[in-house]
């Protein structure tokens, strides 16, 4: 090992500023606040435009002379369960365990599969338990929910990727789980706002955005998180 090489590497490092652990912690808190603010802001703006500022909608006209109303208990159960899934997804996406190389492929794959299934199963299960909640509501295709989910999740997804900075291994898979985590957070907001539990609506308006965000996360992860020579 030559002394000149050593000097060159040390000089290159000295010439390039790098944040310390405390700076990274402050940055993480800032980005977390940005993620929360952007998600909630998008939700409130969207809800303000579409439903006159009503953030929690309990029901509506399914058809002429047919009104559907969700109970507060059902809303809190489905949204609370979704919140637990979102918390798990965030733990999986943002935590790295005790390794600098992040979660294992197995954990990330399990998360990628189980988060969407778990969210849908939780919603359908509790809605079925309430009988009429699953009734057909063909006028509500789910396009508004699809847009709402994506709009709410975009800011958090970008913030999550910025928090992670780099992933030497599996950048696309890490990005996928980040997309799902952002989508799971959006699911909670959309669950409060949307009273429809009709299965085709759920698949188009609630589940599809999870996959859209997972795909966007994969592309973003591969582009931003993967290591490349500078």
């Amino acid at each position: 090992m030559s002394a000149a090489l050593r000097m060159r590497v040390l000089a290159a490092a000295a010439a390039e500023a790098s944040p310390t652990r405390s700076e990274i912690k402050r940055r993480g808190i800032f980005l977390g606040m940005i993620a929360a603010a952007s998600g909630m802001g998008a939700f409130m703006i969207f809800a303000g435009l579409v439903s006159g500022g009503t953030l929690v909608r309990l029901g509506g006209e399914v058809a002429p002379q047919q009104h559907l109303e969700r109970s507060l208990w059902l809303v809190s159960t489905t949204a609370g369960g979704a919140l637990a899934f979102a918390a798990t997804a965030l733990w999986l996406a943002l935590g790295r365990g005790r390794s600098m190389l992040g979660r294992s492929r197995r954990w990330l794959l399990y998360g990628s599969v189980l988060i969407p299934i778990g969210l849908l199963a939780w919603k359908v299960g509790w809605s079925m338990a309430f009988g009429d909640e699953m009734m057909a509501w063909p006028e509500r295709l789910g396009l508004r929910c699809l847009w709402l989910s994506v709009v709410v999740a975009v800011g958090p997804l970008l913030a999550f990727v910025a928090m992670r900075q780099s992933a030497p291994l599996r950048p696309a898979l890490n990005g996928t789980v980040m997309g799902l985590a952002a989508g799971a957070c959006a699911w909670v907001a959309v669950d409060l706002w949307c009273p429809v539990a009709y299965l085709p609506h759920l698949l188009l308006g609630h589940v599809l955005p999870l996959f859209v965000l997972a795909g966007a996360g994969a592309l973003l992860g591969q582009a931003v998180l993967s290591l490349r020579r500078r």
Binding site: L5, R6, A13, P19, R21, I24, K25, S166, P168, L227
Partner: protein, 216 residues
């Protein structure tokens, strides 16, 4: 380049239970401690980190690229990447698997960029004049030396012809002294997969030795 006797011994006598040859390296704890200090903001610790990591990284990268200049450049890139992300270092996390994973990823990226991955990872054209002095000292006569060189060249060529994941598994376990768990972490796969890849590499290299034994 590893000396032939070292290679022969490791190929024919892998560690019991397939656990790989575990060597005690004082640099490992030194690297962990230096990285810990560096992440906390002690800029002077980078020199210690360099001293603990650079020799092993250079060896690994030189084996992978067969080009001293490229290996030095990639080693520098690896350490600079660690420098850039020092603030994200997890207290207590082992540094070596992280450093080697970065080095491997940068090597693959570098090879892809130049569209000569096979050549970059190839150990082909082993230099005849690079048989180590230890091996040379062990040779009784010129015939033995020639035979050892040929054998080593064939082993290196066979190693170069292996898929990259098998070659990396073999090198991490046999040449870098990583445990199965650490190698799995570096390669981003399971312990079982590393065992399988290393086993396939051993089998391929054993076949070369068998052929050589039959030929003589």
């Amino acid at each position: 380049m590893p000396d032939p006797s070292h290679t022969l011994q490791e190929i024919t006598d892998p560690a019991p239970g397939g656990e790989g040859v575990r060597r005690v390296d004082p640099n490992v704890n030194g690297a962990d401690a230096a990285m810990q200090r560096y992440a906390d903001g002690d800029d002077a610790a980078f020199a210690d980190l360099y001293d603990a990591l650079a020799p092993r990284l250079i060896g690994f990268l030189h084996n992978a690229t067969r080009d001293r200049g490229v290996a030095e450049d990639l080693m520098q890139q690896t350490l600079l990447q660690m420098h850039r992300t020092r603030g994200t270092f997890i207290p207590g996390a082992p540094v070596m698997p992280w450093a080697f994973a970065i080095a491997r990823r940068l090597t693959i990226d570098s090879a892809r960029r130049r569209r000569v991955e096979r050549r970059i990872f190839s150990d082909a054209a082993a230099d005849d004049d690079q048989v180590t002095s230890a091996a040379a000292a062990a040779m009784v006569n010129a015939d033995d030396l020639l035979h050892a060189r040929r054998l080593e060249r064939r082993v290196q060529q066979r190693l170069a012809a292996l898929p990259e994941n098998q070659r990396s598994a073999y090198r991490l376990l046999q040449q870098e002294g990583f445990s199965l768990k650490e190698a799995a972490e570096v390669l981003g796969t399971s312990v079982t997969a590393v065992k399988l890849r290393a086993h396939r590499a051993y089998e391929a290299l054993r076949a070369v030795l068998r052929e050589a034994g039959e030929a003589t």
